[in-house]
């Protein structure tokens, strides 16, 4: 239905795509996998009409096409769900779905009632309840993603492109999304699915295309491939161990949380993390995990409870005090909370240390550069120049910069929220190795993660939250998929399949 032939695209001196071929067939779900920076997102943007290709042709039903902009691509029947939600926060959910395509009544006026009804119908198809009249501002990432999906569905697309749509979704929502994608495919649409979660790729897709460093590597039917084979093609080498957690002897209690409560979000949460320990905080999306770590870090206010770091009580709601006490938080949403996208890599990497690096209150470039260089090298951040804006890096490299930023403060307790969300396998293993090394150095690590293999592979203990309560504390020895999922779903074993990553 749609084919790319020899497509290349460069941004400045960086070649994002080199001579890529891709063939999308009606009635088939096609997976596109590759490490971060492999050029997947660029490919998506070319399909979406955001960027024109530098060379090569795009064939739609055998005819060459050029898209002048996203509107052209949409008119051609291509719907795209981007990796990062792109909603209008001030507008209502329904308007976000139908912007530019609102149903009209007499006099070309927008028919608000019809728009609302159709939004409700779409959410019904997805099996979710989102009020179409509420503004998009304040929606959780998962809900934003669902609105994006509804938006894509509303266009009755012939080609649906999904760039990591499941990164923020819980298991049940992922199942529903897949059901919708399958029904679209059965109706004759082509689906292009991009994900780092191999179980999803193998579950949903008939064919897999692998990309590496902006080049096409291989396209093969799913039945002819195994996870190991795909990973080898993606990284061009064998990934020895995905989750290399070193064994450590837990030291003293570093972080002690007692009876932490925030009305409407979580209540009576108590736990401890020892030095050298990696403790995972598992649970379904919306169980209150991110809210807990934000409260521990002093970003959000709390209604009751206390937080102790190395025996000293932290003043509630005081982030600078938390940082001074040796806490560091790598947040879930790196674009909005973790990085200043316009600032350079080195500026971002040294942001929390700007006072320590300053001489007589002034920041000189040299100190910043040296500190940034140390950490970006240690984390192997791939950036053309350390002065490039962070926004130009790929997702995995951005995450490394966030990590570099906090690791440079020498934290006693490191809290990471979804540290590998939207990151490719290679970088993922590096992040895991890094966390493991930190723990071996005696840092206490608290890790919020929705990916069960990551939780099970990395954690010395697994804390499970369900609907705002801490419901289980499972040691490494007895933690397995079933025990964690049973706790996370509120002891309903039948639903355990649900939230597997």
């Amino acid at each position: 239905m749609l084919a790319l032939r020899g497509v290349s695209k460069s941004f400045g001196a960086v070649a994002a795509l080199r001579d890529v071929d891709l063939e999308l067939v009606a009635g088939e779900t096609h997976a596109l996998v590759g490490e971060n920076g492999a050029g997947k997102s660029t490919l998506v943007r070319i399909l979406a009409g955001v960027h024109p290709p530098d060379t090569g042709t795009m064939l739609l039903d055998g005819e060459p096409v050029t898209f002048g902009g996203p509107a052209d691509a949409r008119a051609a029947g291509i719907a795209v769900i981007y990796q990062e939600p792109t909603l209008f926060p001030d507008l209502s959910v329904a308007e976000n779905i139908f912007m530019g395509r609102q149903p009209l009544r007499a006099g070309r006026r927008i028919d608000t009632a019809a728009m609302r009804a159709r939004a409700c119908e779409l959410f019904g198809r997805l099996g979710v309840h989102i009020d179409p009249d509420r503004p998009a501002r304040g929606l959780s990432i998962a809900d934003q993603q669902l609105v994006e999906i509804a938006k894509a569905l509303s266009t009755n697309a012939r080609l649906l492109v999904m760039d990591e749509p499941t990164a923020a979704l819980s298991g049940v929502e992922v199942e529903r999304l897949f059901a919708v994608a399958r029904s679209l495919r059965d109706d004759g649409a082509a689906v292009l699915f991009i994900s780092h979660r191999f179980d999803e790729v193998f579950d949903l897709c008939e064919r897999i295309t692998v990309m590496r460093d902006g080049r096409w590597v291989d396209t093969a039917p799913t039945s002819a491939l195994t996870v190991d084979a795909v990973v080898r093609k993606m990284v061009g080498r064998d990934v020895a161990t995905l989750f290399p957690k070193l064994d450590t002897t837990p030291g003293d209690v570093r972080l002690d949380v007692r009876g932490l409560t925030r009305h409407g979000f979580f209540r009576d949460v108590s736990f401890t993390v020892r030095g050298g320990e990696i403790v995972a905080l598992a649970g379904l999306v919306g169980a209150g995990r991110s809210e807990v770590v934000r409260a521990v870090f002093g970003v959000d206010r709390t209604d009751a409870g206390e937080v102790f770091v190395e025996g000293r009580r932290l003043p509630p709601g005081d982030t600078p005090a938390a940082i001074a006490a040796g806490l560091a938080l790598v947040p879930e949403d790196r674009r909005q909370q973790g990085l200043v996208m316009e600032l350079s890599v080195e500026r971002n990497a040294t942001l929390p240390r700007r006072w320590a690096l300053a001489r007589a209150g002034l920041l000189f470039g040299g100190a910043e550069r040296r500190s940034a260089a140390t950490w970006t090298q240690r984390l192997q951040v791939k950036a053309a120049r350390p002065t490039d804006p962070v926004g130009t890096l790929s997702g995995g490299n951005q995450q490394k910069v966030v990590l570099a930023k906090w690791l440079s403060t020498g934290p006693r307790v490191l809290i990471v929220d979804e540290p590998t969300r939207g990151i490719d396998v290679g970088t993922k293993a590096e992040v895991h190795r890094l966390l493991s090394e930190l723990a071996a150095d005696g840092v206490a690590v608290l890790m919020v993660s929705s990916e069960l293999p990551e939780v099970l592979g990395m954690a010395d203990r697994v804390l499970v939250m369900h609907e705002g309560r801490l419901v289980a504390d499972i040691p490494r020895a007895t933690a397995d998929e079933e025990s964690v999922m049973v706790a996370a779903t509120g002891a309903a074993p039948g639903a355990a399949r649900g939230a597997q990553p």
């Binding site: 009409g49 996203p70 001030d90 507008l91 912007m99 006026r109 979000f265 979580f266 379904l284 509120g490």
Partner: protein, 346 residues
């Protein structure tokens, strides 16, 4: 919605935030209207003549020009831009109208109106063109054209003044006449406000202006012609400033090159007081027009209340701060409500 199917669906909880959201949307305009009613009521209690037919008429006349400018400014601010050149465009259009009548004494009034609007639209097109083509922030571009347009006005006028005697009586009557007690000028403002309000609320391109102001990057990704829409927003603002210039000429009869001098900040103040978010994406022209009426009313109420008119500017300033404060607290409350609303069965 993100609740797993195994827990009871939290659907019933969703009804509450919906209505809460609706209330909070309405409350912006309502707040200004209440402030206005309160101000008028207090002033009336002090001096009943404040609500005499003549005074009401004067109030409406005074608010008309500011309200028309505020509508244009609101459209621009909703797209996350600002138009500082409106005062200069008003001055230029007013002087052009006067000159037109001096040169062609028999000119029909509608032609003068259209000429003023067209001149304003050209000025707006210059603003919009520079912003869209050169990708320079609107604040800088319109700060430049503020001086350029005013400079043209000064050069053209070379110190002369056009007097009422130079203009046809029919035109000047436009500035004072009323239909059923409502000044004709105010009717112009009503038409502009209702027309712009309808466009912004019920038409696709109107909603796209909000989308652009709310998240310009997403708007681009979505294929909204951002440059074109912003261009037309500035043309509209310019055209309305041109219209305001003609009405200014009709109302005051005497025009020199200083007409509308410094008006741009009053206009931005009216828009902000009227609940249009300065970073775009929300607010309405109804609010902006109410803001214009409120500012004008303060101007005439303070002397009645025996407050030194020098305090007027301070009062306007306090009002702006209050409007922004209200906006903030509403946003925080709304965020909290919505966060509570997406509670997954907690």
């Amino acid at each position: 919605m993100t609740a797993p199917a195994t827990t009871p669906a939290p659907a019933p909880e969703r009804a509450a935030p919906a209505s809460a959201v609706h209330r909070l949307f309405v409350v912006r305009e309502l707040g200004i209207a209440l402030a206005l009613v309160l101000l008028v009521a207090v002033t009336f209690a002090v001096n009943t003549r404040f609500l005499s037919a003549q005074n009401i008429k004067d109030l409406l006349l005074g608010a008309t020009i500011l309200a028309i400018l505020a509508v244009g400014q609101a459209i621009v601010i909703i797209t996350r831009n600002v138009d500082l050149s409106v005062g200069s465009i008003l001055g230029l259009a007013a002087f052009a109208t006067g000159t037109l009548f001096v040169d062609n004494p028999g000119l029909p009034i509608p032609v003068a109106l259209l000429a003023g609007i067209a001149l304003g639209a050209v000025c707006g097109a210059i603003n919009g063109g520079l912003i869209a083509a050169a990708r320079v922030p609107a604040l800088v571009v319109t700060l430049g054209t503020l001086y350029v347009f005013r400079g043209l006005d000064y050069t053209w006028a070379t110190g002369q003044q056009i007097n009422a005697a130079d203009m046809p009586p029919g035109f000047l009557r436009l500035g004072t006449a009323s239909i059923l007690g409502v000044p004709v000028l105010a009717l112009f403002a009503v038409v502009v406000v209702v027309g712009a309000g309808l466009f912004l609320r019920s038409y696709r391109s109107g909603r796209e202006l909000y989308a652009i102001g709310s998240e310009p990057d997403a708007a681009r990704l979505y294929g909204i012609p951002v440059g074109r829409r912003v261009f037309w927003a500035f043309v509209t603002s310019g055209a309305l400033a041109g219209l305001a210039g003609v009405l200014h000429a009709a109302r005051f009869g005497t025009i020199d090159a200083n007409a509308g001098l410094g008006q741009e900040l009053n206009v931005v103040a009216a828009v902000v007081v009227g609940g249009v978010a300065i970073f775009g994406g929300s607010g309405s022209v109804y609010g902006a027009a109410l803001g214009a009426v409120l500012l004008t009313t303060i101007g005439s109420a303070l002397p009645v209340l025996g407050i030194n008119p020098f305090w007027q500017r301070a009062a306007v300033g306090v009002l702006i701060l209050a409007a922004i404060g209200l906006d903030r607290s509403l946003a925080v409350r709304l965020a909290r409500r919505l966060a509570g609303g997406t509670d997954r069965g907690r």
